[in-house]
Symmetry: C2
Subunit: 221 residues, 2 copies
C-alpha cells in the first residue's frame, strides 16, 4: 500500500476518534464510507495492522481498531508537513524597499467613499496616505493572484466628476506590524505596491527611501 493511502486510512480512523480508544467498525460499512469494497477494506486494515500502524481485534460482529503510537507518529509527521504547506498558502512573503512612488494612493485613501468601507471591515480609520514598496524581483504572478483572489474589496464610486474604481485589499504585516496592501482592481501590473495602515508607517518605523522591508500578505485572513 502506498504511503499516502495508509495516511488516508489512518486519517479516516482518526476522524472517527480511533486515536486513544478503540473504534468499532464493520469493514462493509467503513469501506463504503471511505470509498472501498468490504474486501479491500479488510485487506487494507490487515496491511496497516501488519505494519504496526493500528491495533485490530476481530469481534463476533465487526472489529475494533485503534491507531498505535507508531501510527500516531506516522500520521503526525504528515500533519506537520501539511501544516507547513498551509503556512505557505496562508502567508505570502514579499520583499522590497521603500520608495516615494507617485503619491496616488494618498489621494485615494483620503476619499470618504473608501474610508467608510475600510472602517466597516476593520473598525479603524486608515491614515490618509500610503507607503510605497518597490518589489525586488518579478512578482507579477503573485500580484495577479492577489488581485483575483481576495477577501476584501472596496467598491468604487463617483465624486466631483471623477470616477474612483474598485480597490482590492489584503491583510498584511510590514516588518511584523499589521497593515493592509491595496491594489486598484483595474490597471496592469506594476512593481510597486501600496501599504495602508491606521498609523503613518513611514514615521513610526523611521523609514527612508531605499530601506529594506519584508511584507507578509495573508490572503485567507
Amino acid at each position: 500500500m502506498k504511503k499516502f493511502e495508509a495516511i488516508y486510512m489512518l486519517s479516516e480512523i482518526a476522524m472517527r476518534d480511533g486515536i486513544y480508544r478503540y473504534l468499532t467498525i464493520k469493514t462493509g460499512v467503513f469501506g463504503r464510507e471511505i470509498g472501498f469494497s468490504q474486501q479491500s477494506t479488510s485487506r487494507k486494515l490487515n496491511e496497516l495492522y501488519s505494519q504496526g500502524l493500528i491495533d485490530k481485534v476481530v469481534l463476533i460482529r465487526g472489529l475494533k481498531v485503534k491507531i498505535t503510537k507508531k501510527g500516531i507518529d506516522y500520521l503526525m509527521d504528515e500533519i506537520k508537513k501539511m501544516g507547513l504547506i498551509g503556512e505557505k498558502i496562508r502567508r505570502i512573503i514579499i520583499e522590497g524597499s521603500v520608495t516615494s512612488g507617485m503619491g496616488e494612493g494618498t489621494y485615494y485613501m483620503s476619499r470618504e467613499g473608501y474610508i467608510r468601507q475600510f472602517m466597516s471591515f476593520f473598525g479603524e480609520r486608515p491614515y490618509p496616505g500610503t507607503l510605497n514598496i518597490l518589489l525586488d524581483n518579478e512578482m507579477g504572478e503573485i500580484i495577479s493572484f492577489l488581485k483575483s483572489n481576495y477577501r476584501y474589496r472596496l467598491n468604487g464610486f463617483r465624486e466631483m466628476e471623477r470616477t474612483f474604481g474598485d480597490v482590492i485589499l489584503h491583510r498584511a504585516t510590514l516588518n511584523g506590524h499589521p497593515c493592509f496592501i491595496i491594489f486598484p482592481e483595474r490597471g496592469h501590473y506594476e512593481n510597486v505596491v501600496e501599504i495602508v495602515s491606521s498609523e503613518n508607517l513611514r514615521n513610526k518605523f523611521s523609514l527612508k527611501d531605499g530601506d529594506r522591508v519584508k511584507l507578509e500578505v495573508f490572503p485567507y485572513d
Copy 2:
C-alpha cells in the same frame, strides 16, 4: 486518480513553491522524487490539469506547473481536515468531578526528590498537594496510553526506608488553567486522576467535592 493521490501530487508541488508562481520541473526528475516513473508522472500531471487543479505549460525542455485557485482550495480543505486531526491528537479531553481521594498524591508531591525534578522541567514549585478528579466513564484505554506515551517522567528514589516509584507527568489544563496530570508508573488503572499545579487549585477555583471539571491533556507539549 484517487483523491488522496491528487492531494499527494498537489502537496509535492506546493512544497516546491508551485503555489503562487510557476514551478519548472521535468517529469523524469520530479517523478523520481515523488515515487513514479516519467510516464506515470506525465499522465498524472495531465490528469490534474484536466481537472483544473493545476496550470501546465510545456516548455522546450521540461514544463512549468502552478496550482490553480481551485487546486489551492482543494488542498486547503484537506489541510484543514489534517489540522483538526492534529488537534484531536494533541488535546485529549477528559471530564469528571472533584473528589477527595485518599490524599496519597499530597504526600508524594511534598517529597523534595520529586519537587527538584519537577522544577528542573517546568521552573516552578508545585503546590504540595493534589486535586483528585473522579473520571466520568471508563477511561482505561486513554489513561494507559498516557502512562506509556509521555514526555515527562520523575525518577523514583529511596528516602527514609521508603521507596518512591517513577511518576509519569503530562501538561494539562483544568477548566482552561495550566496544570499537570500525574500517574504513578506502576499500579493498575484507577478512575481517579491527580492534578498538580503551582497553586492550590481547590481554593483558587473554590472547588467542592462533586463539582464538574473539564481536563485537557497535552501529551505532545
